[in-house]
């Protein structure tokens, strides 16, 4: 197996809020390899956007501060490398597909202008010489790759002239312009209608697979995860509670939170129970001691006041829970 392209290890992030410290990420580790489609899934306020911001280096500090851990990219630690070097990676080797197609494009510039400018700046940083015509060619080439009808016309169009799905394609094109190796997708397709979403997800999947990019997508939609990802990280209250290959994780969810979350998704078969999960996500200023899911967990017991171990429950499948036994012992 090849070395991971993105290697987040033991990442902890603190937020200063009204004079108090909140540990919003607590020892988050995740890896994405080239060709892998990884998903980070969790509910509102679980820390998935903070993780994304930390990786992209767009966390506002203050209030945020990185308390521990490292973010390895292609063997180098993003957190310790010089700012210039890190900036040079953004938008080139690692890029991002933004969530909201309605606000991520500047309404006063044409699509072509906005995309060409991104190439221009990247070229300048990388010391590449390319003229205006060359940049336009590249933009049209990428617009064509995202299956945009009539890319020449789209080049001169303003965002307002495009529908939501077309704008989402532009955002994908934007992320692919400089041939990234890692693509981060923030809630791909959630702002779109379900029929359009299906089309966009299929497109994203094809593009990523054809280039064997490392894809990390961040989402709350378990259905999207199952259709798009081959490896899943489940996040709860700033911790990774379970991770494993998609099929194993959906077939044999091993953390009580993952189990409850999958249970909560309404089933097309009409067999949903609507039990839900009691309580709410904890206050990060004063989180529960030990397992952060303990107060809401139906299986909680005394051991849960200690931080749970990462138990290997199957091939590449790990759950942070006191209830689980290592796979060998089970077998």
């Amino acid at each position: 197996m090849n070395a991971p392209l993105l290697d987040v290890a033991g990442l902890s992030v603190d937020f200063a809020t009204y004079g108090r410290q909140a540990r919003v990420l607590d020892g988050v580790s995740l890896q994405v390899r080239a060709g892998q489609h990884a998903a980070l899934v969790g509910e509102t306020g679980c820390g998935k956007s903070v993780t994304l911001r930390a990786i992209m280096g767009i966390l506002k500090s203050p209030p945020a501060s990185i308390a521990a851990g490292s973010i390895g990219f292609d063997g180098a630690d993003l957190l310790t490398m010089p700012a210039r070097q890190r900036d040079a990676l953004k938008g080139t080797a690692m890029s991002m597909v933004f969530q909201d197609p309605m606000t991520a494009l500047n309404p006063v510039f044409t699509i072509g202008d906005q995309l060409a400018t991104i190439i221009k700046y990247a070229d300048r940083r990388m010391g590449v010489r390319r003229d205006k015509q060359g940049r336009k060619q590249r933009v049209i080439e990428v617009l064509d790759q995202v299956r945009m009808p009539d890319p020449e016309r789209i080049f001169g169009a303003y965002p307002i002239m495009l529908s939501g799905g077309m704008r989402q394609r532009v955002l994908i094109a934007m992320a692919l312009l400089n041939e990234p190796r890692l693509l981060i997708a923030d809630e791909p397709g959630t702002a779109l209608d379900v029929t359009t979403q299906a089309e966009i997800l299929a497109l994203l999947n094809d593009l990523v697979a054809a280039r064997s990019l490392a894809l990390l997508m961040i989402t709350h939609n378990l259905g999207v995860v199952r259709e798009m990802a081959d490896y899943v990280y489940v996040m709860y209250a700033g911790t990774i509670v379970e991770h494993g290959p998609t099929e194993a994780l959906f077939e044999r969810p091993s953390h009580p939170y993952t189990q409850a979350l999958i249970e909560c998704v309404p089933k097309l078969s009409g067999t949903s129970t609507f039990k839900g999960i009691d309580g709410t996500i904890p206050d990060y200023v004063d989180p529960p001691v030990g397992c952060r899911f303990r107060p809401r967990c139906p299986h909680r017991h005394d051991a849960c006041f200690e931080r749970p171990p990462n138990v290997t429950v199957g091939a590449n499948h790990v759950a942070a829970c006191w209830l689980r036994q290592p796979a060998e012992e089970v077998a």
Binding site: E43, M166, D193, L222, V265, S269, K275
Partner: protein, 343 residues
């Protein structure tokens, strides 16, 4: 149908004028809702599903009397209420729960003040208001001390519970639920749906449930209507519509739902992915409004808007393919819309 329906909507139409020019003259219309008819029996949960621009929220607002229909009627319990924008009796009978729990409560008023609004305006005895508010909070499983809190101190799910309590205050018979859980996480959504189902049984409520989430609808509704560009494409019992969807749009919609198990994936109709996007309601295509995206579209679809074809007991759909099939059923027993799995 033995019993008369509680709510009967017939030929409901709403066009919003588009104004332009110097004197703001009418230059066109957004045809948000076009000739929609359905009936809801007492105690039933009727679902209206649709994507953006399908007119589902406009229908909800006409049913509760926030908008006046351009054409068509709304009958509640046998009497015509389509003109009653401010009718007090009707206000008591029909309530609404909104999509966004963050904006449906006034941020500057306490929970008790918000819940008490309908009580004050429907002449509830002043002395009993505090008790009634406490009772309502209990019904939605919130602690009594929430009465003195402000909305920003509550989570999204808790705010939605308050909105439900407020809707229940005047003991309505019909509640319109406009995407009540689409802004919530699935774990919270499950709790709210569970609460609504419980209340419906306990208080004998009838729901008009508006959503774009088909999986949710499959579990919560007894009958559904599928909207496309302000028109009903298909209606029928939930089991029929999901089990054997007749309209190509319904099939595509169900086929596009991301699911979490193989068992569910097997239930999805296999239909080629739709191309393009929903046209704007200000420029509805001629003929069948779905023909621009329909993989099976043929000549009549571009010209003639299809009428409803009955495909089963209380199950009808608007599609030329179905007309063909019923007409030629005796000779050519071929279904033009094949599905991969039959439950």
């Amino acid at each position: 149908m033995i019993e008369a329906p509680l709510l009967e909507v017939s030929g409901l139409t709403k066009h919003f004028p588009i104004r332009g020019g110097i004197i703001q003259q009418r230059v066109g219309a957004v045809r948000a809702v076009n000739d929609v008819s359905f009936a809801i029996r007492k105690g039933e949960v009727f679902g209206l599903a649709g994507e953006s621009g399908s007119g589902k929220s406009t229908i909800a607002r006409m049913v509760v009397g926030l908008y006046r229909p351009t054409a068509g009627t709304v009958h509640f319990d046998g009497s015509d209420v389509s003109g009653l924008i401010g009718g007090r009796d009707y206000r008591k009978q029909v309530q609404m729960v909104f999509q966004n729990p963050g904006s449906s409560l006034n941020p500057r008023r306490t929970i008790a003040q918000s819940v008490a609004v309908p009580l004050i305006f429907h002449d509830y005895p002043k002395a009993k208001i505090a008790d009634r508010v406490a009772e309502l909070l209990e019904m939605v499983e919130l602690p009594r001390n929430f009465a003195i809190r402000y909305p920003h101190e509550l989570s999204g799910g808790q705010k939605q519970r308050v909105a439900i309590a407020r809707a229940l205050a005047v003991e309505p018979r019909l509640i319109v639920l406009d995407e009540p859980t689409s802004a919530l996480d699935v774990s919270v959504q499950a709790k709210i749906i569970d609460l609504l189902a419980g209340l419906a049984g306990e208080l004998g409520l009838t729901f008009l449930f508006i959503s774009h989430d088909l999986s949710l609808m499959r579990n919560f509704c007894s009958r559904v209507g599928i909207l496309y560009l302000g028109r009903l494409a298909e209606t029928g019992s939930t089991i029929d519509v999901f089990g054997s969807p007749a309209h190509p749009y319904t099939q595509a919609l169900i086929g596009a739902v991301p699911v979490v198990s193989d068992e569910e994936a097997a239930l999805k109709p296999s239909i080629p992915a739709l191309s393009g996007e929903i046209p704007s309601p200000s420029r509805i295509p001629k003929g069948c409004s779905f023909h621009t995206r329909c993989p099976f579209a043929f000549e009549p679809c571009r010209q003639i808007d299809p009428e409803f074809t009955i495909v089963g007991q209380g199950h009808e759909a608007r599609c030329h393919l179905l007309e063909e099939r019923t007409a030629t059923a005796a000779t050519v027993p071929v279904s033009p819309v094949e599905r991969s799995a039959h439950p």
